[in-house]
Structures are given as structure tokens and as C-alpha cells.
């Protein structure tokens, strides 16, 4: 077997393992859980809102703060990825620098939390 295919074999083994794991967990829970379907439970889950009406509808403005927070923290992660790829190279210096960066981000999160933005209204 060529080196190329051997590399893909690892991927295949991982995929099979992942599939088995999901099937096993879901199958097990299906076996042991009670099953009492109601119309409410069978609805498609859409961020806690009943999926009624047309596809183009106005959403609650209160979601926008979550969206903004998500955008900010999501984008900050762009700095963490390259750092994580080369962590062993940067050693303690890199660790400290990233800790400083993340601590400052945490300030933002703490602010949002204290202001009650993270609470579901």
C-alpha cells in the first residue's frame, strides 16, 4: 500500500470510529428513553421560535446583541489559530503574550455578562 493511501486509511478509520460512536450513543439513548411524541416536540427547532409564516420575517431586535458579540469574539479567534499552530516555537513568551490577549478579551466578556447581555430575556 502506498504512503498516500496509508495516510487516507487513518482518515477512514477515524471516520468509521466517529460514525460508530454517534450511532452507538444515539442507539443506546433510543433504547432506554421513553417515547411520547407531541406536536410541540415534533416541530422543527428554530432558535426557540415557532417556524410559522413566510421565510422572510422580522426577528426580534434583542438577538442583535448576541450576534454582535458573536461576530467580535469569533473574529478575534483569527489571531489565536496561527499562534496555536506554532505554539512550541514561541514557548513561554508566546504563552504569556496570548494570555495577555485573552485576558483582555475576557474583560469584554465579563462586561457583557455584568451588563446582563448574556441573559435570555
Amino acid at each position: 500500500m502506498s504512503e498516500f493511501l496509508r495516510a487516507y486509511l487513518t482518515v477512514a478509520v477515524f471516520a468509521a470510529f466517529a460514525g460508530l460512536l454517534i450511532a452507538g450513543v444515539l442507539g443506546l439513548s433510543r433504547l432506554i428513553r421513553p417515547n411520547r411524541p407531541t406536536p410541540q416536540k415534533l416541530l422543527t427547532y428554530e432558535s426557540g421560535v415557532d417556524p410559522v409564516g413566510s421565510g422572510f420575517s422580522q426577528s426580534q431586535v434583542r438577538y442583535y446583541i448576541f450576534a454582535l458579540l458573536f461576530v467580535m469574539f469569533d473574529v478575534e479567534a483569527v489571531f489565536i489559530f496561527p499562534w496555536a499552530m506554532r505554539l512550541e516555537l514561541y514557548q513561554v513568551f508566546g504563552l504569556v503574550e496570548m494570555a495577555v490577549f485573552i485576558v483582555i478579551l475576557v474583560f469584554g466578556l465579563v462586561y457583557a455578562w455584568r451588563k446582563g447581555v448574556l441573559r435570555w430575556v
Binding site: R86, L89, Y90, F93, I104, F107, V110, Y111
Partner: protein, 493 residues
């Protein structure tokens, strides 16, 4: 295998920025932990933080030698130190002005000072940035909090509008500037300003270089509110809380000029045929249009807004004569820095007095200043002093600033420079009309609503007026003080 060389971080050189970041995080923390109980303390914390950040600047200045970090991208030299000191002092005066203004409204005090210090932090970086990325990051760090500060009265439609206009034009300008930077990066393959100078070389420009330089300069022309990119300024200045108006018209504008000085005199030095005519036109129309529109204003804040547009025109003039001076460009840079420092003192002072008067009259209309001399002679004299300083009348600080600009224009001794000097002189006369109209209103007109109760001035506001008045008069009487500081500011090697 890639190798990684740990960058040499000079903590002494970074100390002003670190102190400032410490102070602003502390303010955020105090606001979050103690909430309403300690909100009054945030303004004192902000003031103390700014003064504490001045200490390392003094030790760095005493120490004397230039420090350079990150491959020349971050430089702490005398120019950077002088500008940082100006930013911090201007910030301190704005905090003093804000203390009661913000404390009495139903505003978010903790966040206000947090944003103010964040914006100042961006300005400190700008003073040291010698690299396109650092300049861009500094510009955004100082602008984004400023967009929010402009709309601080969020339930007031005028505040919203001020914020929206400033925001839309601000981000448009930074996109234009970035596009210019990307072209310059493409031509030179570097982001460090000195490498860009070497990469661009001198001589004939190819179109891509011309477009790049043009876009970058136009981007910053928005920031310093040069005509025809000034349209946001009067509306934003009127709608924003008055201390923030003072902050934007002084500190934010100064930061734009710092960036222009760095970019134009270091990176684009070899291509003056591209930017010299541009600056000539910008300077001439900025001062003329600013002054002519200011003549028609009936609101003092709006008048000061157009006056600050016109003042930007004077400061743009030395850019237009670069290369014509016998002593190199240092003279032009010195003239701009001198003007910036003096302008900061007198403009902040004028706004501080307007805030004090508006505490009683609740208005910034010119008519509400009627008869101010009768019931608040101290304030009236001070406001007259500040506007006459802005007009350039000796012995108040402004004359030396004007003289510095006119001096370099005449020294350049080219026909174009002489014409520009004449334009500056004519504009100074036009400006005298509207500056004098403020004084006339206070002295000769009747009290607007017959209410002659004296104006009560809180201690911190009085301190800010006092600081500005002392520096405006001291510079006017002994201009050698400022000459010494701006002498330090030759950073072109």
C-alpha cells in the same frame, strides 16, 4: 524548520501605553464591580491614569536616546514623546471638562472614560507608529471609540445623527486609505515607512504609486477635516457632547496630522511632485471655505467647528512647501507641531468656557452669550482671550503659531509658497470678523433672557479653563517655551 526570534521588548519605551491600558481596564473593572457606588470615581481614575502615563514620558525624555522596536515599526523618539505628551494633556483637560458634564446627565460614566482612554491609547500608538499596519491599527483604535463617544447621548436624535455621519464618513475614509496602503505595499513590498521610502525611490511616479499616495492622503484628509472632506465635522461637532467635540477637534485632529507627518515626510518623501500640489490646494481651500462658512454661523459650537476646519488649513500649509526649505523638511514639521500644540491649548480653552456658560444658558447659540460680560466677567474675558488667540492676536499664544507657519512659507521663497502665505494672511483677517463677533456679543448685546444670576463653575471645569488659559498666555508671552519643545521634533533622519 522555522525559527523564532523573540522580539526585544523595551518596557520602558512602552510604559506610557501600558500605564494607560492598566488605567482603562481598572476603570472598566471598578465600574463593573462597584456599579453605581463608585461611578463618581471613574473620572478621577481616568485623570490620574493620564497623569501617571506622563511620568514614563518624562523619564524617557530625560533618558534621551531614541528607541526602536519590531524592526523599526515602533519608534519612541523626541517627536513621538512630544506628541504623546500633547495627547495625554489634552485628554486630561477633556476629562476635567467631562467630570460634571457627564456626571450630571444620565450617561454611562464608566464606559465614557473607558472609551475616552481607549481613543487616547490609539493616539499614543499613532505617535510611535512607523509602519503601515501600526498606523492603521492606531487610526482604528482611536476612531472606533470616537464614533461611539460622538453619539453618547443615545436618546437624542442629534447625537445619533452626529455619530452616524462621523461613522459612515470615517469608515469610508479608512477604506480609501487602506486601498492606497495596499497599492503602496504592492509596489514596495514592505510596510515599514523607511523601507517604503527606499522602495518608492524618487523621480517619475508610475500611476500606481500616484494613486496609492493620493488615496492615503485623502483618507487622512477626512480625519483632519480638510475641505472638501470636512462635511461630517460641523454636524458631528454640534451633535456630540461638548467635551467630546473639544476632544475630536483637538486630539483626533492632531492624531491625523501626526499620521500625515509620518507618512508624507518619511514614506512618501521622494515623491513630492505627487502630494505637494495636492496639499497646496487642500490648504488653500480648507482655510478659505472654513472661514467663509464660519462667518455665517449663529451657533458658537458650530462656529468653532468651522474655525477648527480653517485652522486645519493653516496646519496643512507647511506640507505644501516641503523640499523648498534650505534646512530640509525639518522646518515644515516644526511649524506643524508648534501650531498643533498651541492650537490644542486655545481650542480646548474656548470649548471649556462654552461648556461653562452652557451650564446656565443650556444653549450654545451666539445670542445666548449676550451680555455675558455683565454677569460673568471672568468667563467673558477668558472666552474673548481664547477666540482672539485663535485669531492670532498677540500677546496670546495664537500669534506665534501663525508666525511659525508664515515663517516657513516665506522661507521657502518660491512663488507658490508666497501665494499661500498671502492666502493665510487674508484668511486671518476674515477669521477676525467672526471671532470678534463673539466678543461683541458678550460685551455689547443685552442679556438674552434678562437672567443675570452668576454662572456656577465646578472646580474641575475651572481647573481645565485655568490650565488652557495659563498655557495660552504663557506661550504667547514667552514663545521660546514652545520653540524648545518643537525643536525636539525633527524625526526625519
Amino acid at each position: 524548520m522555522l525559527s523564532f526570534v523573540q522580539p526585544n521588548i523595551d518596557y520602558h519605551a512602552l510604559a506610557p501605553e501600558l500605564v494607560l491600558v492598566g488605567a482603562l481596564l481598572l476603570i472598566l473593572l471598578v465600574d463593573l464591580v462597584f456599579e453605581d457606588r463608585a461611578r463618581w470615581a471613574t473620572s478621577s481614575l481616568a485623570g490620574l491614569g493620564l497623569l501617571a502615563a506622563l511620568i514614563p514620558i518624562i523619564t524617557l525624555a530625560v533618558n534621551g536616546h531614541d528607541r526602536s522596536m519590531f524592526g523599526g515599526a515602533y519608534v519612541v523618539d523626541n517627536f513621538a514623546l512630544v506628541m504623546k505628551a500633547v495627547f495625554l494633556l489634552a485628554g486630561y483637560v477633556v476629562v476635567l471638562m467631562s467630570t460634571d458634564y457627564i456626571g450630571e446627565g444620565d450617561y454611562y460614566e464608566g464606559e465614557y472614560y473607558f472609551m475616552l482612554l481607549s481613543s487616547l491609547f490609539g493616539m499614543l500608538i499613532m505617535a510611535s507608529a512607523r509602519d503601515l499596519i501600526s498606523i492603521f491599527i492606531a487610526l482604528e483604535t482611536l476612531s472606533i471609540p470616537a464614533y461611539l463617544l460622538a453619539g453618547w447621548r443615545k436618546r437624542d436624535l442629534k447625537g445619533n445623527e452626529a455619530s452616524l455621519k462621523y461613522y459612515l464618513l470615517g469608515v469610508f475614509a479608512s477604506a480609501v486609505m487602506l486601498y492606497g496602503m495596499s497599492l503602496i505595499f504592492g509596489v514596495t513590498g514592505s510596510t515599514v515607512l523607511t523601507d517604503i521610502r527606499d522602495g518608492l525611490g524618487s523621480g517619475e511616479s508610475v500611476p500606481i504609486i500616484t494613486v496609492g499616495i493620493l488615496f492615503v492622503v485623502i483618507g487622512f484628509a477626512f480625519k483632519v477635516s480638510a475641505v472638501p472632506f470636512h462635511t461630517w465635522a460641523p454636524d458631528t461637532y454640534e451633535g456630540a457632547p461638548t467635551p467630546i467635540t473639544a476632544f475630536l477637534s483637538v486630539a483626533s485632529k492632531a492624531a491625523g496630522f501626526v499620521a500625515l507627518l509620518e507618512l508624507v515626510f518619511i514614506a512618501f518623501e521622494g515623491h513630492e511632485e505627487v502630494w505637494k500640489p495636492l496639499f497646496w490646494i487642500l490648504a488653500a481651500i480648507t482655510m478659505t471655505v472654513g472661514n467663509l462658512i464660519a462667518l455665517r454661523q449663529t451657533n458658537v459650537v458650530r462656529m468653532l467647528a468651522y474655525s477648527s476646519v480653517a485652522q486645519a488649513g493653516y496646519m496643512l500649509a507647511p506640507f505644501a512647501i516641503a523640499g523648498d526649505l534650505s534646512g530640509g523638511n525639518v522646518g515644515a514639521i516644526k511649524a506643524v507641531v508648534t501650531y498643533l500644540i498651541i492650537y490644542a491649548a486655545m481650542n480646548l480653552g474656548a470649548f471649556a468656557v462654552v461648556i461653562a456658560v452652557a451650564r446656565k444658558t443650556r444653549s450654545a447659540e451666539l445670542s445666548s452669550f449676550g451680555g455675558l460680560f455683565e454677569y460673568a466677567p471672568g468667563l467673558a474675558v477668558l472666552l474673548a482671550a481664547f477666540v482672539f488667540a485663535l485669531a492670532g492676536i498677540p500677546p496670546l499664544g495664537g500669534w506665534y503659531a501663525k508666525l511659525a507657519i508664515l515663517n516657513v512659507l516665506i522661507d521657502a521663497s518660491t512663488p507658490w509658497a508666497t501665494v499661500l502665505a498671502v492666502v493665510v494672511a487674508v484668511n486671518s483677517v476674515i477669521a477676525l470678523f467672526y471671532y470678534a463677533s463673539v466678543a461683541r456679543e458678550m460685551l455689547m448685546r443685552p442679556v438674552a433672557d434678562g437672567d443675570r444670576t452668576p454662572v456656577t463653575i465646578p472646580a474641575s471645569l475651572a481647573a481645565s479653563i485655568g490650565l488652557c488659559a495659563v498655557s495660552t498666555i504663557a506661550i504667547g508671552v514667552a514663545p521660546n517655551l514652545i520653540a524648545r519643545f518643537s525643536d525636539l521634533a525633527h524625526f526625519v533622519s
